[in-house]
């Protein structure tokens, strides 16, 4: 996967070049559309509208087909995420171990809900059904780092830390 940061690719023709590259990489493979969209998302951190246009053009597809996929699968984002992503696991083990009060607290504290980004663009809350680390429930994932045995206090501390770090 080409490792290009999203901000470097605002240029439309660059975007076209990158997307063509992705498509070419899978030439000859069947049923590859979702994989292509996944690659686009990991390149731009979300699936930009323009990328969908380009994809439709290049692969001769109807946009409805792509948006059908984008809205069906929970993984895809249509807008760029905030600077940090935060997920309180909503799986069964985490639920039984009290994750709900943590997620409610985080939502209240950040005044946002899963799938949305705080108005200052600092945090995006995401939803996950289980991280597969159920033995250390409740689990919170911050910027892809898994943290086990979390409490409101710990998560609060973490959010403060991130805010302070960002202020400096």
């Amino acid at each position: 996967m080409p490792e290009t940061a999203s901000h470097q690719l605002v240029n439309l023709s660059d975007m076209r070049v990158e997307i063509k590259k992705i498509i070419r990489g899978y030439q000859g493979e069947e049923g590859i559309l979702i994989k292509i969209i996944q690659d686009i998302q990991s390149m731009f951190d979300h699936v930009p509208e323009k990328a969908v246009d380009i994809l439709c053009n290049e692969m001769d597809l109807d946009p409805v087909r792509i948006y059908g996929i984008l809205t069906f699968y929970g993984q895809f984002r249509l807008s760029p995420p905030g600077k940090h992503t935060m997920t309180v696991c909503q799986g069964t083990a985490c639920h039984v171990m009290g994750s709900k009060k943590i997620s409610e607290y985080v939502e209240r504290k950040l005044s946002t809900s899963p799938g949305s980004t705080t108005s200052d663009g600092l945090f995006t809350l995401e939803k996950v059904a289980c991280m597969g680390c159920c033995g250390i429930a409740p689990v919170v994932v911050v910027d892809h780092e898994i943290r086990g045995h979390q409490s409101i206090g710990e998560v609060d501390h973490l959010m403060k830390e991130i805010r302070e770090r960002e202020r400096d």
Binding site: Y73, T92, V96, A129, I136
Partner: protein
């Protein structure tokens, strides 16, 4: 394991190890040794090995193996503890007694029969050589040299193995259906979607022993005449995907995948497809649509995938654990496989133990073991001495909650189904008295309602309606007729939904209604939640007659809504209170209602 001279230090670095900081522990070990780079250190020939998760969640696990000496196991190792292990044990020869894993750890493993998990936490998952040293690829080698495809399917049939992914369909039979079909193209799919939120055996196997899954798929390919395999793995498992990719690359390099494997004329390819966050895609027909690059909508069966699957071609779809069992069966024979288990449920099953239990982790036991033996054996019993066993959830969103009375149920497909739960993928979540069964039922219906693909009305509309009813019950607005309606809807959806998601989604409600009817009644008639879970039914009031003036609740409150001074009763400022229940959870005296 090869008997190499010197000292081997195994560090568990699966997702759970890494979450506990195992990478920092390994770094510290290496740094500490480098710092003492003297004659004595070099002579010891110390090798560090990162292995997968062993299955017990006790932070970072470190094992020390020295030739001719007893294996030493440490748990909960932090970077701060490393220098003593290096100094006293690795160089000094005397294990650090303070850090030894101890009895709980030993007990966790003693009660198990580890077959599928045998390599997890023991070998370097990225090393094909270590896999081979431990019997890996003996199975594939044997069939390519000695057996025709039908004989392989026959062995799998004889073993009696049934699918570990949920439905328990006989694997050999499934293979035979696909083998019989005359088609130039056939596919093997490994279902690694692990959708049950609370199960993690597939993740651990993929991270800890990925070659076993690849070998299992290759054997299935040979037996059925397929030459292409796909692993459909959920995107939430980045480490599993990484290890799998690495393993596939290595297998290709070393000619265990690709054209003319082991020069026996058999060709097999494997690609990875990442899931994109949809529970329904664990269901086989949806999964197939998803690999085809479409929305993961299920379709009615028949035709079954074995007849008409991926791209319309005969397809065998098996779960990770099922496939990881295959090399064992071929290597040791179907009789060996049946030495444990029951007549119609042979072999072992891995359970993912989590929730309010002392030891959480993966437990592999013979089929036929009782639920009690798992929870109170390896599981070590309840987490808190203050709160007794209330229920165990088995089978995830398609399963059910079983009470104390069901603890002696034997774990086999038929007995579990009889209780109203299902074996499922093996999730086992233990609940104590602080869990509200109505809340749990609501939780699951909330999950399945939001994961319903929307294709069939019973599931789409029916589950939403059930959710509304459960919402009103937990909010204190329910009535007795709601309970009747809930049950009616549950039975209706079970009968009429299109796919397994909808057919089984009502199970959590039906089992809680069956085993915990009183709890529903109290919610609707007394508007009370006996477990103090449903926020709307809690008053957040300190009951002076029970309060011991200990002040624990004040410490637990994240928003300083509790006033307390030494020698006085606590009081709650309801204006500040965010109803998070932290105080209720810490109170040892049930003094908050």
């Amino acid at each position: 394991m090869s008997a190499s001279v010197g000292t081997r230090v195994l560090i568990c670095m699966g997702t759970s190890g890494l979450a506990a900081g195992a990478d920092r522990v390994l770094e510290t070990f290496i740094r500490e040794l480098a710092r003492r780079n003297d004659e004595k250190t070099v002579q010891k020939k110390i090798i560090f090995k990162s292995v997968g998760d062993r299955g017990i969640f006790r932070d970072t696990l470190v094992d020390v193996l020295e030739t001719g000496r007893e294996r030493i196991r440490y748990d909960r190792i932090t970077p701060g503890k490393v220098s003593r292990i290096v100094e006293e044990h690795l160089l000094g020869g005397i294990p650090v007694a303070d850090y030894l894993a101890g009895d709980i750890y030993e007990k966790f493993f003693r009660g198990q029969s580890r077959r599928v998990l045998a390599n997890c936490g023991e070998i370097d998952p990225e090393s094909l050589d270590e896999y081979i040293e431990n019997g890996g690829y003996e199975g594939l080698n044997r069939i390519l040299n000695e057996l025709c495809p039908d004989e392989v399917t026959e062995i799998i049939k004889e073993s009696g193995i049934r699918g570990r992914g949920g439905a328990g369909f006989p694997t050999g039979l499934k293979w035979a259906f696909a083998a019989k079909k005359d088609s130039p193209e056939k596919y093997i799919i490994c279902n690694a979607d692990e959708g049950d939120p609370g199960a993690f055996m597939d993740r651990s196997v993929l991270e800890g022993d990925p070659f076993a899954v690849l070998e299992g798929m290759s054997i299935a390919g040979y037996a059925t005449g397929a030459s292409q395999g796909y692993v459909y793995v959920r995107a939430e498992y980045p480490l599993a995907i990484q290890r799998l990719k690495k393993a596939i690359e290595t297998a290709y390099d070393r000619k265990y995948l690709g054209p003319d494997i082991m020069e026996r004329g058999f060709s097999f390819d494997i690609s990875i497809r990442e899931g994109a966050g949809a529970f329904v895609c664990g269901e086989e027909t949806s999964l197939i649509r998803s690999i085809e690059g479409e929305r993961g909508m299920p379709r009615p069966r028949p035709p079954y995938p074995a007849n008409k699957g991926l791209f319309g071609k005969p397809t065998v779809i098996n779960n990770v654990e099922t496939l990881a069992n295959i090399p064992i069966i071929i290597r040791h024979g179907s009789d060996y496989f049946q030495t444990v288990g029951k007549e119609r449920s042979t072999g072992t099953k891995v359970f993912a133990l989590a929730g309010k239990v002392k030891n959480t982790g993966l437990v592999e036991v013979p089929m036929g073991t009782t639920i009690r033996e798992v929870i109170f054996g390896p599981g070590g019993g309840m987490l808190s001495p203050r709160s007794g066993f209330k229920a165990v959830q088995m089978g995830g969103p398609s399963g059910g909650c079983l009470p104390m009375d069901c603890l002696d149920t034997s774990i086999d497909y038929e007995s579990i189904t009889e209780t109203g739960a299902i074996m499922g993928s093996g999730g086992m979540i233990v609940m104590d008295e602080s869990t509200c069964m109505v809340d749990i039922a609501r939780y699951f219906i909330g999950f399945t309602a939001s994961e319903s693909c929307g294709k069939c009305p019973p599931c789409r509309e029916g589950l939403t309606k059930m959710l509304h009813i459960l919402d009103s019950i937990v909010e204190g607005k329910g009535s007795r007729s709601d309970i009747t309606e809930l049950e009616r809807l549950a039975l209706l959806i079970k009968k009429t939904a299109l796919c397994g998601l909808g057919n089984t989604a009502p199970n959590p409600v039906l089992t809680t209604l069956k085993y915990f009817p009183e709890e529903y009644n109290i919610h609707v008639t007394e508007k009370r939640c006996p477990a103090h879970v449903c926020p709307a039914l809690i008053k957040y009031r300190i009951m002076k007659e029970n309060c011991s003036k200990c002040g624990l609740c004040r410490k637990a409150c994240p928003v300083n809504a509790i006033q307390w001074e030494r020698g006085n009763y606590a009081t709650i400022d309801l204006k500040k209170c965010i109803q998070c229940r932290s105080c209720i959870e810490v109170c040892d005296f049930s003094a908050i209602e």
